[in-house]
Symmetry: C2
Subunit: 262 residues, 2 copies
C-alpha cells in the first residue's frame, strides 16, 4: 500500500495553497498513493514570525476544505489537510481528512500546543483513529509528535499502522542549511521521528514545508526506525512509499503498560 | 551540583564488579560528585548471550549491596547500583540506591522488559522518586528508557531534576565500532537519550558498559537536548558533570496532559 508525503513551499495565499494541494495530490495519485499528507496549518499557512499570513475567516476555511474534497474525489486519493479551524468559539490548529470519495472523515486537533502557541490557538482534547481502506492511521501535529510520544503511543495502541505528523520547522529567511539526514549537528527533529516509529513498531510519516533553511525534512520511518525515504532539503515535491502493513505490528506499543504510569 | 556516570568494563565476577564500583565511586567522589550511577545489572553483570555470567544467589546479592553501601559511606557519595534481586518469589532487574551515609534508600525495578527478557526476569510494577540532598531523581532501566518515554515522563512530573538510565548495548565480541556521538549510522540509542531530556526539560543521564563494540556510550544530556559530556567509546572511566538544577524546570513534562490519553 502506497502513502504519500507532500512537501510544498510556504503558500502565498489560500488560493496558492490549494493549487499546490491539487498539483501534489495529483502527482501522488498518479504514483498510486491511497493517501497524501500536507504540512501543519498549510491552509492558510503556519503563522511564522517572519511571514505575513492573513488570518482566514471560517467561511474561507470551509470553502478551502470543500475544494480539497473536490481534489480528493477527482484524483481518487484521501487527503490529510492541516488547517486553521473555528468551532464552538474555539480556534484550532487541526488536520482534516478528506476521503477518496471527497467526504470529510473528520479531524484531529493539536492537543499539546507548543508554549509559543498558547496565545494563538486553543488546544483540542480528543484523539481519533482514521481508516482509509485497510489502512488505519492516527495524526499528531508538530510539537505534539516531537515532544509528546504519548500522542503516537495512543494511536499505535488503537491499531494504527501509521501516524502522520504534519509540522513546520525552519524558515525561508534565516538559519542553517541541512544536507544530511539525521546529522548529529542538526536540530533534534529527525531523531524524534525515528523514535516515534521504533517506540511503537509502526510507521511514522513526518511532513514539513520545503524551506530555504529547513531544520528537518519530510520522511517516512519504518517500524524498526529505519528512514525509508526523505524529501530533498529545500525542494518542493511529493514522496510516495510502499509500506507493508504486516510490518506495522504495533508490538512495542501494545507491550506498553498504561497502568504503571497513573 | 555534580553527578557522575561510571562506565566500567564488563565484570568478570561479583568481586571484580565490586572492585570497579570502589575504584570508580572513589574517583567520582574525589571529583566532587554527590551521586554516581553504574550500568544495568552490573552485579553480577547483564546476562549477555556471548558471556558466561553465573547466576548469583540472593545471599551473594545482598552481601554485594552491603559492600556497595560501605563504599558509599567511606567515600560520602550516593551510589546507584543496578543488580539482580530476588524478592517475594520474583526475580527482578532493578537498581538499588545507597545514600552517602551507606543506607539503602530503596530500589527501582525494570517494569517494561525487552521482549527478549521476558523469560529472564519478572517485571516490576512500581515507580519511585529518590532524593539525595537537593537532587531529586528517577531511574529507568535500558529498554524502558529507550522505548518507553512514559517512564521518564513519570519522574519528570514527580519533580525529578535528572533521570538516571542504566543500560547495556553492544558486545565485547562482535559488532561495529562507533567513534562519533549521535552519528546517523549508529543505532538509535544515543538519539533516544536526547529525546528523553528534551521531551521533559530535565537532565537525562544514560550509563552503559565500556565494551569493544558499544552501540552507544554513557552520556549526560541537558534539559534542552544538548549532550554535555560523554564517555570515550570503549574506555572504562567516570565522567563528572556539574548540573544546574534551576535549568531542570520540567517545563514540557509538566505541560503533558495525562487526561488526554486515557
Amino acid at each position: 500500500m502506497k502513502i504519500a508525503l507532500a512537501t510544498p513551499h510556504f503558500p502565498t495565499s489560500i488560493t496558492d495553497g490549494l493549487n499546490k494541494v491539487e498539483q501534489l495530490a495529483t502527482d501522488a495519485a498518479k504514483q498510486g498513493a491511497v493517501v497524501v499528507c500536507f504540512p501543519e496549518t498549510f491552509i492558510p499557512g503556519y503563522p511564522l514570525a517572519d511571514v505575513e499570513v492573513p488570518k482566514a475567516s471560517q467561511e474561507e476555511l470551509a470553502e478551502a476544505l470543500n475544494k480539497v474534497c473536490e481534489i480528493a474525489k477527482a484524483n481518487n486519493i484521501a487527503i490529510i489537510i492541516p488547517m486553521d479551524w473555528y468551532e464552538d468559539d474555539k480556534f484550532y490548529n487541526l488536520a482534516q481528512v478528506a476521503s477518496a470519495n471527497g467526504e470529510v472523515l473528520g479531524y484531529q486537533t493539536k492537543n499539546q500546543l507548543d508554549p509559543s502557541e498558547d496565545t494563538t490557538w486553543q488546544p483540542g482534547t480528543e484523539r481519533r483513529l482514521f481508516e482509509v481502506g485497510e489502512l488505519k492511521f492516527g495524526i499528531t501535529i508538530c510539537h505534539e509528535g516531537f515532544r509528546y510520544p504519548e500522542s503516537v503511543r495512543w494511536a499505535a495502541r488503537e491499531g494504527a499502522h501509521v501516524v502522520f505528523h504534519p509540522y513546520l520547522s525552519g524558515s525561508d529567511l534565516k538559519g542553517n542549511q541541512i544536507t544530511e539526514w539525521c546529522n548529529p549537528n542538526s536540530p533534534y527533529y529527525e531523531k524524534a521521528m525515528m523514535m516515534r516509529a521504533l517506540e511503537n513498531t509502526i510507521y511514522f510519516a513526518s511532513v514539513g514545508y520545503a524551506m530555504k533553511y529547513q531544520e528537518s525534512t519530510s520522511a517516512i520511518i519504518a517500524p524498526d526506525g529505519k528512514c525509508l525515504a526523505y524529501q530533498a532539503y529545500g525542494q518542493e515535491g511529493v514522496i510516495v512509499v510502499d509500506i507493508d502493513l504486516g510490518k506495522a505490528t504495533g508490538l512495542l506499543g501494545k507491550r506498553f503498560k498504561p497502568e504503571l504510569y497513573r
